[in-house]
């Protein structure tokens, strides 16, 4: 995980997570992701190699087609960026969105 601090207000954090639940990032996990993302002030972007989307938009998150094994880059910008990254990493990689692995 990398953290870069411009000033006290503007923090940028990035991390890479791997989708580990068997069904991938379908709508229900995407909703959980967006719900958590929206609890924070930071701007959040999520990208696979091809597409970068707004991590707070369910429609955009559904465009990632992130199957099991896909690696996604999550970037947060704002005063609570560090918290964003740890909350989303926990959801994706530790809780597996409450779903089973393959």
């Amino acid at each position: 995980m990398q953290a870069e601090q411009d000033s006290l207000e503007k923090v940028v954090c990035e991390t890479e997570v791997e989708i580990k639940n068997a069904d991938g990032l379908h709508m229900r996990p995407a909703m959980q992701f967006v719900d958590i993302a929206n609890q924070f002030k930071s701007d959040i972007t999520v990208s696979n190699n091809e597409t970068e989307v707004d991590g707070k938009s369910i429609m955009q998150m559904s465009m990632l087609a992130a199957t099991c094994g896909t690696k996604l880059k999550i970037k947060a910008e704002g005063s609570d960026a560090q918290k964003v990254i740890s909350a989303l990493r926990e959801l994706v990689e530790e809780k597996l969105f409450g779903e089973p692995p393959p």
Partner: protein
Amino acid sequence: MKFEDFVCFEATVPELQARDREGAIAEIVESLDKAGKLGKGNCKEITRVVIKREKEASTGMGKGVAVPHVKYKLVKDVILVKDVIAAIGLSSAGIDFSALDKQPVYSVILLISPADEPDKHLQAMENVFRHLQQEKFRKFLRQCRSAEHVEDLLREADENSSL
């Protein structure tokens, strides 16, 4: 994946009679059944599971669109859903879908995916949302008045990624 890979154009319902989401879902599933896409005697069961899924969390994503869907277990030789299959239903009056933005839904894209092919489901959804994301596409879809219009639009969208 393109629309033509999974959308059953002949099952399009250009004007849904129902004003509620359960009725709308039933009409679209029935239309897929009439098009011979669901195998014999599965229509009611599939309708039931799509509605059950919809009640768990609305797929009315806002901006007048809803994407009800279900992953269906393939029962050998009974269910014909071996690939993702979808159909479009339109409502000029608007349907109460309990959408996220609490606004009526005018365009419904209903998907049935085989439970053991989660990646195909995601690829179909990616295609659906890539286009639904575009305001122009949503507007054109809502304006379609016949199954032919819908087919023309989706085929054009398959060719033109900016639509």
